[in-house]
Symmetry: C2
Subunit: 290 residues, 2 copies
């Protein structure tokens, strides 16, 4: 279970299922642009908690999560949206391939995510359920609604509560869906699922706070995008609302919440709290980078 295998799985599928060299290149360019593959790894790590044996079917689900995340980044970076020219240390998709192809590469990744998912060898009833969760969390009550609110919040002061609601939709919904889909596949009981969703939600908020912190104090060469972009767009962030030390405090608070939820899962599953799951690893890595 690792990021290169997810990347490879996506690229092979896109190469097989795309007509047109430029279109294939532009989609693969963004998939290979070196992201953390956080959402698919979270999905696979959740399955690992239950010693679920991972096959190509689960890689299909993991890949679809990453394809949807990547499409959202391509569209977010467009001139009409955040107008970013650098992402993960490389020119953004529209800088490299032009705006028209970037829009279509995003559309392609989104559409093919559902195509790849439909081919997963998973019990059909579960698969339909998974498709519902993925589309709803990426949809107009989830990620897209959050993106609209994010744009509308530019150039005005938002409250901490509003900021949290934007992120809950813009990034939180898809992150939570990774855990939900794993729970459906592994037939997890409702209590444990609830705790895992809490873990994912806190993790998602912590990631967001870290991004906001890095936009102010990060090293452009290390994080691979221009810093100070939030300030440029007049965006309210955890840092602008809480200050640097307040944002750091909030970050560690969310990490503690995630750990607490994970400990409760372990107790329920009769695992030792000190056992190190892949979900612990994700949390540990997050803290190290921050």
């Amino acid at each position: 279970m690792n990021a290169p295998k997810i990347e490879q799985s996506i690229c092979e599928f896109l190469q097989e299922e795309t007509i047109g060299e430029e279109l294939t290149k532009s989609m693969i360019y963004s998939i290979k642009a070196g992201g953390k593959k956080f959402r698919p790894l979270l999905f696979l790590a959740t399955l690992d908690v239950f010693d679920y044996s991972i096959t190509q079917a689960e890689y299909n689900v993991a890949s679809s999560l990453e394809m949807i995340h990547t499409y959202s980044l391509i569209h977010d970076d467009l001139p009409a949206m955040d107008d970013d020219d650098l992402r993960r240390g490389m020119p953004t998709n529209h800088i490299e391939f032009g705006e028209a192809l970037a829009i279509l590469a995003g559309d392609g990744l989104l559409t093919e995510a559902f195509h790849l998912l439909s081919l997963a060898d998973i019990e059909p009833k579960k698969l339909v359920n998974i498709m519902g969760i993925l589309s709803a969390s990426a949809g107009t009550k989830g990620m897209i609604a959050g993106q609209v609110e994010d744009i509308q919040a530019e150039n005005r002061q938002v409250s901490l509560e509003e900021l949290q609601q934007i992120h809950e939709k813009k990034t939180g919904a898809l992150i939570k869906s990774a855990v939900e889909m794993a729970c459906i596949i592994a037939d997890v009981n409702i209590f444990v699922q609830g705790k895992l969703e809490q873990y994912a939600t806190s993790l998602g908020i912590a990631f967001q706070i870290r991004d906001d912190l890095l936009d102010v104090i990060g090293d452009e060469t290390l994080i691979g995008k221009h810093t100070g972009s939030d300030e440029k767009l007049n965006k309210s962030t955890y840092v602008s609302l809480l200050g640097l030390s307040g944002a750091k405090e909030a970050f560690y608070e969310q990490c503690d919440k995630a750990q607490e939820a994970l400990n409760q899962v372990k107790l329920e599953l009769n695992q030792s709290i000190n056992s190190l799951t892949l979900l612990d690893e994700i949390l540990k890595e997050l803290k190290e980078i921050a």
Copy 2:
């Protein structure tokens, strides 16, 4: 079975499943912009050939087809693409709501199409199959590939064969999928499905030729968009390649092919060739408008 009911079904779903007034408005604006609802009606008319009793589940499928078609129009009209400011007699989505919201409204319609589909009360195995067909035909071997080729073909002379291959992907794939999905739902045998797909393919080409004809000889106030746009973009069309009378001839040839395929379906189903199905009606209307 009618266009207003499809429109209503989509709008109710979007209103229920969207957070954000502007986002809801922009999606519904384009859904309500008065299209023919050709793809969903073709899907429902195909089911009608088999006297299939249509429920809300089939309206979900029909609606998802229209949502995907509508998203593709919104994105096609964007400044970076065809840069159209008029569609179906109304300002295009980005003219009315701005470019950022138009991109996101398109993303929203595409994503929510799969969401709505996942909620259809259809046997899960069939539903997964339907999702595969819809995503593949709208995807990077289908509609999106055709759109890329269409853009790449601007400002250069393409052959008739190339033109046909572009349209087969850009519009033909999704039109054919309407028939394929109906055949899966109604358990249609492979011979009849093949003939129905031939019908749909010829119908799709005929529609395209008609569009090209109307772009030259149409009345802007009647067809609701600027004429002469193909020439402006230096696009090869059936008219530029075959001339006016050649294009008209090709149009009627495709209509005849569609009728012939439909007659073979009727023979196989022991229906009278002179019986009037809804598929005949669609063909008849197409000829009248041309």
